[in-house]
Every structure is written in structure tokens, then in C-alpha cells.
Symmetry: C2
Subunit: 372 residues, 2 copies
Amino acid sequence: MMRHNPNAISGQSAPRNSQYSADGGLTRMSLKVFAATLILSAAMTGSGLAQEPIVLKEMGSFHVGGKLVEVTGKPIREVVFTPGGQPAKVDPNGTYQVGQMYVQYFVPQEERGRYPLLMSHGGGLTGVTYETTPDGREGWLNFFLRRGWAIYNSDAVERGRSGWAQYPDIFQGEPVFLTTANPWERFRIGGGEGTYSATPSERKVLPGNQFPVEAYDQFVKQGVPRWTTTDDFILDAYSAEIEKVCPCVIMVHSQAGKFGFEMAQKHPDKVRALVAVEPAGGGQEDAVDALKDIPILMLYGDYIEGDARWPAIRQRGLDFANLVRESGGSIDIVDLPAAGIPGNSHMPMMDKNSDEVAAYIQNWLVEKGLYQ
Amino acid sequence: MMRHNPNAISGQSAPRNSQYSADGGLTRMSLKVFAATLILSAAMTGSGLAQEPIVLKEMGSFHVGGKLVEVTGKPIREVVFTPGGQPAKVDPNGTYQVGQMYVQYFVPQEERGRYPLLMSHGGGLTGVTYETTPDGREGWLNFFLRRGWAIYNSDAVERGRSGWAQYPDIFQGEPVFLTTANPWERFRIGGGEGTYSATPSERKVLPGNQFPVEAYDQFVKQGVPRWTTTDDFILDAYSAEIEKVCPCVIMVHSQAGKFGFEMAQKHPDKVRALVAVEPAGGGQEDAVDALKDIPILMLYGDYIEGDARWPAIRQRGLDFANLVRESGGSIDIVDLPAAGIPGNSHMPMMDKNSDEVAAYIQNWLVEKGLYQ
């Protein structure tokens, strides 16, 4: 397991002046200058002064994957799309594009990541997960972009800008909507049932929790409906993304943990590293051999042992990791509190110490030779 | 009506060397240098060579607006979120956050727009409308960002990263899904019913049409479901965006035409100009007086007279514009073909001459004193 490096907690410096070298040491700046830079960065952040600009070679978006599905036998409808407007005939019978996935990309002018970094969010959320934190700080997308990683941030199929398809005709089952209370109680912020209240001041918070609880209501606005029956659609679209963009490093969170492992198993020649943040599941047990040459980091936050569900979720991840190790693979399993980073919820990319956790990941990527 | 300025068709130069001055003339570069730059730009675009970097002071996202709604009397469900995972109890009764809107922003290091530029997409789409074109060119978001406009690009309520709410409990009615054929026939690409075919080579195209028909299948992937009953939710969220971000210039397309006019009517002190691209509707007829000090540009593409629905849609826009003019307001109504720009579909920001149409809008904004 990698030791936590407190020097890595910079978070605001531009890629071209990064303190990281290929071996994780401090070669470009002396420690004295670096410390001064840290203090300056912190002061600038605190006072809201401008930081270094983000310099992009290009930015844009595309959709990948999906398939065409026929719907038949439905009545024709007349739809007035704009009140008082012209009715338009809408024949629901026909061919539908379904299962595609939205990807937004940002390529820095000076790339330092050896491969693009693909970000995949968790269930009931979208790529917004990695953007600005609920309390308005720069998220992991900016963190890694500023350090010179080309970022490909997706919305999983049926979430966000990927769109969704008719159900039960095309998607099976019904979508799941979460109440405002649900993530508070389930994401190790409050610590289980009964800890949420509509009145913010009456919400119970796990002691030392780093989630920006004052911005919880903003976080809830990021939620979107999700299905639990669309894994095949989602995996197919991720494969299409990998075929278009990779070789690459993949970062996944929560529900996407399973997808990250399965993507790496399906495309071992394209995936150069996998960072699984609070993964909710592992990969295919009968294909662990495919992972043996891919460095993998599994990161877990705090408060797991006291949670109703997370001890079993984590154990399932560890069991899968053991299978990978037994077949010769290399997985670093990091419980952040044991690495000196306490207080993280299920959403470390939003927690107040999000830059500290990101720096830990960045250091790991440097150690694996994926940064130049 | 403003004359089309062919010199404005640059599309690739960085904001700091822009050829535009406050009066729309060429003051910063001689015509000779400018012509040389144009040729160089065109050559670089054609050969795929790198263009100037995009330099951002900041980028990020947030959600605005929405409200809390109670749902009661539903049975509790057990949901397995990850196959083989821990079942989680999902009680659908409770409080839901609904009606919020996602906004992504990009602030250039060197701002030249006098106000931020808010972009609002049309029905069945998302903010992706303004990003990369279906055939992979830079979209209007990049075009205006490169010229120094701070961009706030939103997904309307219930579309994209804004998420959507249960129906019919919270949203009324059912969502509308479009077949792959529908936009081809309705967006003045093919020219009406029967012009679409599943076989690309058999699709009929309006003569001279600028839509990148070879990338139509990519465009279809950008589509998302929509309701026709959520206007109040959408307008409330746009108001929340305006209160947070403006004073500003607003750009709207299609369904959002109505929203743009109504936003300007509700916030006449905050909206410094309105650009309505192919608006599907006007504003509130009893509040036209509120628009009298706001410069408005209404842009229509080609093929309207031969279309089944667009003559009436356009006429409705003109009728509303007349009411605004009668109350002392200033609206420029531009039919692009009459301005020397033929061939545009309902999606000019994606058409092959998208930069030419954007340059027309940019010149108009310069003429209105909104650029420095």
C-alpha cells in the first residue's frame, strides 16, 4: 500500500509547474519554493483570487454506442410542442436510437498524463459528479485537467445527456427515484436511517465527516433517475468509448466500479490503469486473469465498519481483489483513514478534502509511470 | 436589417486577435493582414492543424432552481442496485427535489463580451446542441467562447443533466420520444414526410441543404425524451439562472424561443439582448412593453415557405415581433437566405455553415455595443 504523501495536497497549481516527477519525488522545485507555493495557493484559494488559467488544446463532446430498436403497434398522437403552436403528428411506431452515451472531453494544451483519463460516475448521478463540488470548489475534472490529463467525462446510458428509452418497451422495469433523504442516509454522510431531516440544522452528521453538508441540497439537485436493468446497455456504450478513445486510464465510482473492472477485462490491451473509487462491485470472477497486467487502485472512505451495507460491499470488493491477486494481478486496496485521510463519505470527489484524495490518486498514477 | 458581412466568416481566430471592433469595422488589423489570416485559418482548419488554445479563467457547473415535492401512499421497494449486491430499501414516499436545471459555464481568461452569454437549447435536446457539431466541428459554444464570451450553457428542466421527475405524480402527461425519422422530416433537412429512409443513401435532402447529413445518425444520438407540460418548471429554472448569472445576453433556439422572450419580459433589467434562433414561439402578448429597451434578433433559416408547419410558426413569430415594435421595441428579423446565407435547416448551429451564421450573430452583438 502506498504511503499518503501530505506534500501532494496542493490542488491549485498549474500542470506546467507541477511538483510531481516520474517517481513521485520533488525534482522541479526545491522543497522551500514548493512550500511557499503551497502557502500562496492556499491564500489565493481562500481569498478567491484568480488562479492559473486552464489552457485547452481542444474541448467538445460526442455520443458513442447504442443501437436501433423498432417499436410497433402504437397509436399515432398529435402533439402541440409549444403552447398555442402548430400540432405535429407524432407516430410512436418506428425506429428509435437507444443506449448511446454522452462523452465530454477537455484536452489540455500541455498533456502530461501518458494516456487520456476516462471518468465514469456512479448510480443515479451523471458526469456532474466530477465537476464543481456542491459547495462550489473545483472538482476532480478540473484537478486532473490542470495537472495535464486529457479528460473524457461521460454520462452513463439513460443518465444525463445520454438520454433514455421507453419502458417497459425498450428498458425493462421502472426507473428508481431517490428522495432527498436517501443519499444522506446511504452515502455515509449522516450514518444510516433516521439521520436526515428536512431542517438542515437537525440533520445528524457522522463525526468528522468531510462531506460539505451545508451544500447537501445542491448535491441532491445533481441526482437523476436510474434503472437497475440497463447494465448491458451501459457496458456496451463504455466499450464503444474505449474503442474510440483508448489506450487510457479509467476512473470509476460506486455503481461504475463493476463497469470499470468489466471494461478492463474486456479491453485489457486498452486499459493502462483502473482507479475504482468506492466501487459497489467487482468484475467477472471467471475473467480475473485479464486484469493481471493492469495496475488497479481501489479506494474506500471512512465509516464503513459502522454502516449497515458497506462492510459487505467492501468485502465483496476485497474478495474479487484476492482473485485478481491469485491470478498474478496487482491491486492496491486503500482505506483512506488507514492512509491518514479520515472523514470521507461515499463521495470523496465532493468532500471538503477532495483535493487531498485526488492528490493521493495522482501520486499513485505517477508511481505507476502514467505521468510525464 | 443588418447586411451580411462576409468578412466575418473567420471562425477560427482567437479572441485576442479578433478582427471585430466596437462598430463592427476592422480596426485592429489591416485588411491585407486580415485576409492573410483568413486564408491561414481556412488552411489550418482544412488540414486539421492545431488552432489557438482556449484559455479559461474558470470552468465548472451548478444546478439552479427547482422545488421540493412530497409523494405519499406508495409501497416500499427493495432494490438491488448492483447485480449480486446488497439489497437496499427504497421507500418512494418522501420528499423529492424536482425542477432544477443544470448549467455548465466557461469563462475565458480575456472576456470581451460585455455580459455573459446564456445558451438555451430546443425541445428534445440538451446543451449538447451548442457543443461539437454532429460531424465533429467546433460548435457555437466554442465559437463564442473563443471570441471572449463567458458561456453559460444549460440543460432545460427534465432534459440531460437536469434530471426529471416521476410522472404522472409530479410531471403531467407522458414524455415524447422521437423516432430517428422525425427530425429529418420535421427540421427542414429532408423536407417533410417520406423523405427519411433507414438507408442513408436513400434519404432525400432539400437542395443545397447545409445540414451535415452524413452525420445525421450522430445527431439523432443527441436527442432526449421531453414533456410538453413542463413549461412552468422550465421558466422558473431559467429565472433562477438569470438571477444568479445576469445581466447577460440570452441565446435561445426553437422551443426555447418562447422561453427567451418570457425571460426577457420577466427580467427586462437583466437581459441586455436576446438572440432567438428559429424560435418556435413568441412571448406574452400582454407584456410586450417590457421588451422595448432590449435589442432582439430573430433568425430564420431556409426552406420555410415549402414546409408544412414553418410558415405558420414563422408568422406567429412575426406577429409577436410586430406587437413589440408597436410598443416601441427593436427587433431585427433576419431570414438567412435574404441575408445571403442560404441552405440552413432548423439546426443552423450544426449546419456546415454554422460558423457563418455564428459570425452573423457576433456582428449583430458587436453592432449593439455588447462587445469590447
